[in-house]
């Protein structure tokens, strides 16, 4: 199963970092996200894109996880040569991740 089957996401930029909010479509799947979508796995998923580190914050109250990926936007903001310079599609890239149910 891919994350897109159980979660939705929104991403945005802060300098050269991107944040990805990952939200369980059904609140009961939140523990699955906590178990499967670790910072390590997200770093592995974005290997070669995120050149810094991945931090994960838990928001059980919203059924959501928040990830910060540093050095992920090719310099970020106005200096990046990336097509997606602001990481707007990186939330969707995370949803491609395979998880074990």
């Amino acid at each position: 199963m891919r994350l897109i089957d159980v979660a939705h996401a929104r991403s945005g930029d802060k300098g050269d970092s991107v944040n990805i909010g990952l939200i369980a479509r059904d609140r009961s799947d939140y523990p699955l996200l906590v178990r499967e979508v670790t910072a390590e796995r997200v770093a592995h998923h974005f290997a070669g894109v995120c050149l810094g580190e991945v931090k994960r914050y838990e928001l059980p109250n919203l059924g959501a996880l928040n990830f910060i990926l540093t050095s992920a936007l090719g310099g970020g903001g106005t200096t990046s040569l990336r097509v997606d310079a602001q990481g707007k599609a990186m939330g969707e890239a995370l949803l491609f991740m395979e998880i074990d149910v």
């Binding site: 802060k14 300098g15 909010g21 479509r25 919203l62 959501a64 928040n66 903001g77 200096t79 097509v83």
Partner: protein, 454 residues
């Protein structure tokens, strides 16, 4: 029980010109908030101001106000906008001129200044304020001579002063986006500056609507197909109670939707540590927020917690940092990928032969893997077409121009060069880089001036 209805009508400079008008005409609101300033907008406005001392603010805002000013004054809808850019006084004067020329009476404009700290930079360096890059840790010395704008993010407090003085339009320069919403709430409810949970609630309310329709169905990853009539998407409104609880909603009959999912996506947007959302007047904690649907297109948010702010203000500075250019050529079946790759290789060989001093060069295959890269591998190896995009970054514009001259000759490379997507020969575009840093609150002194129309 009294509630205050605050609408957002503009999430960024260039957002829908129809949105703020729809917010005014679509139903009752008490405040209209408008955000015009992206991180580097100030440097662009400073350039305009240097060429013309009457410029340097968001002209679009003046055009908008000339359409809605009369209605807003008659219906007592107050407008709070960070449209002042580097010249809030010039922006206020333009509004006063509009009122005068249209014979509109009752305009009272509050102007917030003091965010511009360019003149204080040398003094701060002398006093040992580090001003290092908040993201990269780089030393300020590296960019000090190139800085063209430096603005502190002011908060809600100066806005409350303008409202207390009877302003019905408040213009700020650089100001936090949530501050545009927190200001009216503190003014209306008389919240104290140490009511941490209430200040946090007002900040969360501001964060929820600061990106416009992102709270009400726009850019909604969780179900964009299910959003009705995005052509007429309703921009969000918060109805806030004195206890800090608020309902996110939109005007009836508009497109999009306000659901727990749309609101939750926006709560997480551009969020760092959710327990530590920094702002000038409060540090807000999102980790106990509760979001629940209380009616159609009505989502209640409760549980904001706050604690005292830090003693710093965030500052955004901008400095020129070279030039960029990007060329795009479309190649089609058969072997579209191989043709694009050959063209890229020819181009790079020629650039190497020329010895152009490039800071960076990047090749993307648009329509194939330019966005997700290897994270989401493209399907198939023989697409009907791809766009070769080659972008460069150099210190001087001539390098970018010389690069641009190498694009058209690629027509003599692999077959099927279908023309340049971006039109004629690319022109170098100046890069304005962004320098985020912190300054002690004590060095910033926000001022408020209120000016009457006729």
């Amino acid at each position: 029980m009294k509630t205050v209805r605050i609408a957002n009508g503009q999430a960024f400079w260039g957002d829908s010109p129809a949105a703020p008008i729809a917010q005014v005409r679509g139903g009752d609101i008490d405040y209209l908030t408008l955000d015009y300033l992206a991180e580097i907008t100030m440097s662009v406005l400073r350039k305009q101001y240097e060429r013309d001392p009457d410029a340097g603010y968001a002209r679009d805002f003046v055009d908008l106000m000339s359409e809605i000013m009369q209605e807003c004054i008659e219906r007592d809808i107050k407008v709070i906008a960070n449209a002042g850019g580097v010249n809030p006084q010039g922006c206020a004067q333009a509004l006063l001129d509009v009122a005068a020329s249209k014979g509109i009476s009752g305009l009272r404009v509050g102007v917030v200044t003091g965010d511009d700290i360019m003149a204080q930079l040398d003094g701060m360096v002398g006093e040992g304020v580090p001003l290092q890059n908040l993201d990269t840790g780089q030393s300020f010395e590296e960019v000090r001579d190139r800085i063209v704008s430096a603005n502190a993010y002011l908060g809600a407090e100066p806005i409350t002063r303008a409202l207390a003085d009877g302003a019905n339009v408040v213009i700020t320069g650089r100001c936090t986006d949530p501050g545009l919403v927190l200001g009216p709430l503190v003014h209306e409810f008389g919240w104290r500056w140490d009511d941490w949970d209430l200040l946090a609630a007002g900040t969360v309310a501001g964060h929820t609507i600061e990106c416009g329709a992102q709270a009400s169905g726009g850019n909604f990853q969780g179900g964009w197909r299910t959003m009705d009539d995005l052509a007429h998407v309703g921009y969000p409104i918060v109805e806030v109670s004195a206890d800090g609880t608020f309902v996110v909603t939109k005007h009836p009959g508009t497109g999009g939707a306000v659901t727990t999912a749309t609101v939750t996506e926006q709560l997480l947007y551009e969020l760092g540590d959710p327990a530590t959302y920094l702002s000038p007047e409060v540090t807000a904690d999102f980790t106990a927020l509760q979001v629940q649907e209380v009616g159609p297109d009505r989502v209640e948010v409760t549980g904001a917690r706050g604690r005292p702010p830090t003693d710093s203000l965030k500052v955004s500075m901008a400095y020129p940092d070279g030039f960029q250019g990007a060329a795009m050529i479309t190649y089609a079946w058969p072997d579209a990928l191989a043709k694009a790759e050959l063209a890229d290789s020819i181009l790079r060989t020629r650039l190497k032969d020329l010895g152009l001093p490039l800071r960076a060069i990047r090749t993307d295959l648009v329509g194939y893997n330019s966005v997700h890269g290897r994270v989401v591998p493209p399907e198939g190896s023989d697409p009907a077409e791809v766009v070769l995009r080659v972008s460069i970054w150099a210190d001087d514009p001539d390098t970018v121009s010389r690069f641009a001259a190498e694009i058209a000759p690629l027509v003599m490379g692999p077959p099927g060069f279908t023309g340049l997507l971006a039109g004629g020969r690319m022109r170098p575009s100046r890069v304005m880089a962004y320098w985020p840093t912190l300054v002690p609150k004590s060095v910033v002194d926000p001022q408020v001036i209120v000016r009457d129309g006729v």
